[in-house]
């Protein structure tokens, strides 16, 4: 659920990083956050909020806002969230999806996690349905993460298999990536931001037209 504020000239949207446990959702956010901090050096940046357990698992969510320039004279603010990946945290995962405008699905390229990817995507569909949303209707980008492990000699699921398992019907944009090295992390973000903002603006234009038509 985006907020369009004409007084502050601000469009706010919510993007959620979803995927199985330990697939690298938090690593994506931390990489983006660190890079932006370096860029802003000296200026105070927004805080990165993490609610995690004593290990490195996300308990509720990680969050921070990113300002992405202007469109139609309005500032764009993207609220980035991750969800907990572990199956047991489904209640909180569902809560984080409330009001989501766009989703990045971070899949794990390790062969042992193939089934976990499939189950997590199914879980995403079910949790979106809870808010009367269909996965086909929501801006979505896939990220095939951990590609750097290939350099260490590990055999990974090939891109075709990942596409076939998860993206065969959805045909959403996708990126091979390494969140830990930053490979395609910003490309993923740019793509989902672009899709989400245009979807919000399209919905807004449509509702304005409806109001005009209804108003005669």
């Amino acid at each position: 659920m985006a907020v369009i504020n004409f007084k502050e000239k601000l469009i706010q949207v919510k993007i959620v990083y979803y995927g199985p446990g330990r697939s690298g959702k938090t690593t994506n956010l931390i990489y983006i956050y660190d890079k932006l901090q370096q860029k802003l050096s000296g200026r105070p940046a927004s805080r990165l909020i993490t609610i995690d357990t004593r290990g490195d698992r996300t308990l509720f969510f990680d969050f921070f806002p990113v300002e992405l320039g202007k469109i139609y004279g309005m500032d764009l603010k993207i609220q980035l969230y991750t969800t907990p990946g572990q199956v047991v945290y489904n209640t909180t995962r569902k809560l984080v999806l409330k009001g989501v405008d766009g989703v990045v699905f971070v899949a794990d390229s390790l062969p042992a996690r193939r089934q976990a990817n499939i189950e997590s995507l199914q879980n995403l569909k079910e949790n979106l349905a809870h808010y009367n949303l269909k996965i086909e209707d929501i801006p979505l980008v896939f990220q095939w993460n951990k590609r750097d492990l290939e350099d260490e000699g590990l055999v990974l699921l090939d891109i075709e298999t990942l596409e076939d398992d998860l993206n065969k019907e959805l045909k959403a944009p996708s990126f091979p990536a390494s969140a830990i090295r930053g490979y395609n992390v910003f490309q993923t973000l740019k793509q989902i931001a672009k899709l989400t903002i245009s979807s919000v603006i399209r919905k807004f234009m449509l509702s304005e037209q409806i109001v005009k038509v209804a108003g005669g």
Partner: protein
């Protein structure tokens, strides 16, 4: 449903939030949607309003789930008491949450009456 806030709407909402500060003794007030998007705010101080909105919406949602687990629809009073600052959460409608910060010497009862008083007005403005 996205929330569209015209300038006039934001001005009206801010006036109501100011009223809570001037007449109810609140020190800081903000409105957020249940997704954690900040709608508007009023009050002095260097508070990170974006983070406050996000965490409050999450806290509210989690507390509601706790209520459901023990067979309640929701808790009628959501309030944390601190040494220097208290915080009170009010559900304005199913999609909107109001967060009020106030000093420990301010009467919670009086504040709640004031909040009830402006709740309907906020609903009306957002429903326009």
């Amino acid at each position: 449903m996205d929330i569209i806030l015209e300038e006039e709407k934001v001005d009206k909402l801010t006036l109501l939030l100011n009223k809570l500060i001037n007449e109810g003794g609140a020190s800081y007030v903000l409105l957020t949607d249940m997704a954690g998007n900040l709608i508007c705010k009023s009050g002095e101080g260097s508070i990170d309003a974006t983070s406050l909105a996000v965490l409050s919406a999450a806290n509210f949602a989690a507390t509601k789930e706790i209520a459901r687990l023990i067979g309640e629809d929701e808790f009628s009073l959501l309030f944390h008491r601190g040494q220097k600052e208290n915080i009170h959460f009010t559900r304005i409608d199913p999609e909107i949450l109001m967060i009020v910060l106030f000093k420990p010497y301010v009467s919670l009862g009086l504040l709640r009456i004031k909040i009830e008083g402006i709740k309907k007005e906020i609903q009306k403005i957002l429903g326009e």
